[in-house]
Symmetry: none
Subunit: 244 residues, 2 copies
């Protein structure tokens, strides 16, 4: 435990400001999992004493991480690690909410929005009759204006009669319509980007991407959503905290 303070200690002799040195080391420490999600960090005063710096300096270092959304402060209580992007194993949240949590501005560019006949795969996975129709949404997912992922969603028209009316958050739209996704099965694989996907994502063909395939179920345990998300590997990093 003592080693940890040693590792965080900024170097007075360097020209980079103490608070910046500390903020970087602290970010590394958090990413390395030194503290659990939702757990309080040591207090600003503790940092100050252990590292031999003033409290305000410690605080300023934490300010940086605060702006990045990595930590969260509660006056009188403490400073807490923001629950990670993911928690893919325990919590179900859409892309929009996840990014907003981190302080990014999420947006989408629609590539396709309409009603089509279903593919064979969709018929099977959604349990459709072949004659029914599906609503399809295809879009670029942006964070602060940068393309992070390409997403393709499919739903039976019954649950999304008017695809054009979906705003940024599909999940919010479904909630409002009374068709909330309550449970989802998510497969994560690695794939090489095809020419089309690569172009849309702004990367070279063949680059490795995360492909997340999700089947969403409503409260009656009926599959109502099928989504493929191609995530740029340079931006996406799924983090899960496991316990036993």
């Amino acid at each position: 435990m003592e080693n940890r303070w040693q590792a965080l200690k900024p170097d007075e002799t360097l020209s980079t400001p103490l608070y910046l040195q500390l903020s970087r080391k602290l970010a590394d420490a958090i990413n390395a999992g030194w503290w659990q999600a939702d757990e309080a960090l040591p207090s600003e005063r503790t940092f100050s004493e252990e590292l031999g710096i003033s409290r305000v300096t410690a605080r300023k270092a934490m300010d940086v991480l605060l702006e990045q959304g990595m930590i969260r402060r509660r006056q009188g209580s403490g400073t807490f690690i923001t629950p990670r992007l993911e928690q893919p194993l325990s919590r179900l949240t859409g892309f929009t909410e996840q990014l907003r949590l981190r302080g990014f501005v999420p947006s989408s560019v629609w590539l396709e929005r309409g009603v089509f006949p279903p593919s064979n795969e969709e018929v099977i996975k959604l349990g459709l009759s072949p004659t029914s129709m599906v609503a399809r949404l295809k879009r670029q997912r942006l964070a602060d204006g940068v393309v992070m992922a390409i997403e393709m969603s499919t739903m039976p028209v019954a649950y999304l009669p008017d695809p054009q009316s979906v705003g940024t958050s599909l999940y919010a739209h479904l909630d409002a319509a009374g068709h909330s996704v309550v449970r989802a099965l998510q497969h994560i694989r690695a794939v090489n980007a095809s020419g089309e996907i690569a172009q849309l994502a702004g990367i070279r063909p063949g680059e490795a991407m995360l492909l997340i395939t999700r089947i969403g179920f409503n409260a009656d345990n009926v599959a109502i959503e099928l989504t493929d998300t191609y995530c740029r590997n340079d931006y996406y990093d799924f983090v899960a905290e496991l316990k036993r």
Copy 2:
């Protein structure tokens, strides 16, 4: 019975709140079967007197367990242990167990097993002093004789003094040595296979692979394990069930 009160007694000198200390010890005691299911615990006043703390503090400790559903209160009557039949949390399982569950026969081929000086990254993530040494394990992971992944684990020698003695399951070995990994932080990314990895994995260079980086912590929240696993995308498919 006197020993029991002693074991439950919180330590005033520690910085963790009395009620939290007590709630943890109490949870352990319940799990250890000190009282039968549906049996009344000692009253809040009894706890207060025996442990030399205020009644409200004892009560607050029990509040924690109440929220976890471990106990149940009946005003005027007493506090009772909830009969348990569940086990909610996401499970932490190693590669070996996962494959066995699916009916495959897991095996490993060792590529490297020894003691080395740590890299910079390892020093930081494991909180080492630069002069200490680490044990390194590198192996091919097979299922039914087919290479599925390349895995590289690093641990401080203190926790794995003799790398040669590890069998197929690292986690089983650690459990036996009393150094169980209790919590882990797992990063999942997509990467293009390098020449070396591709050769070891039996695929073409540049193929997309899942890279799983895991930091394992022991019960004292000290990082004791660092593992990079390169998974063949044609075999590996991460599945998560999400709920909200």
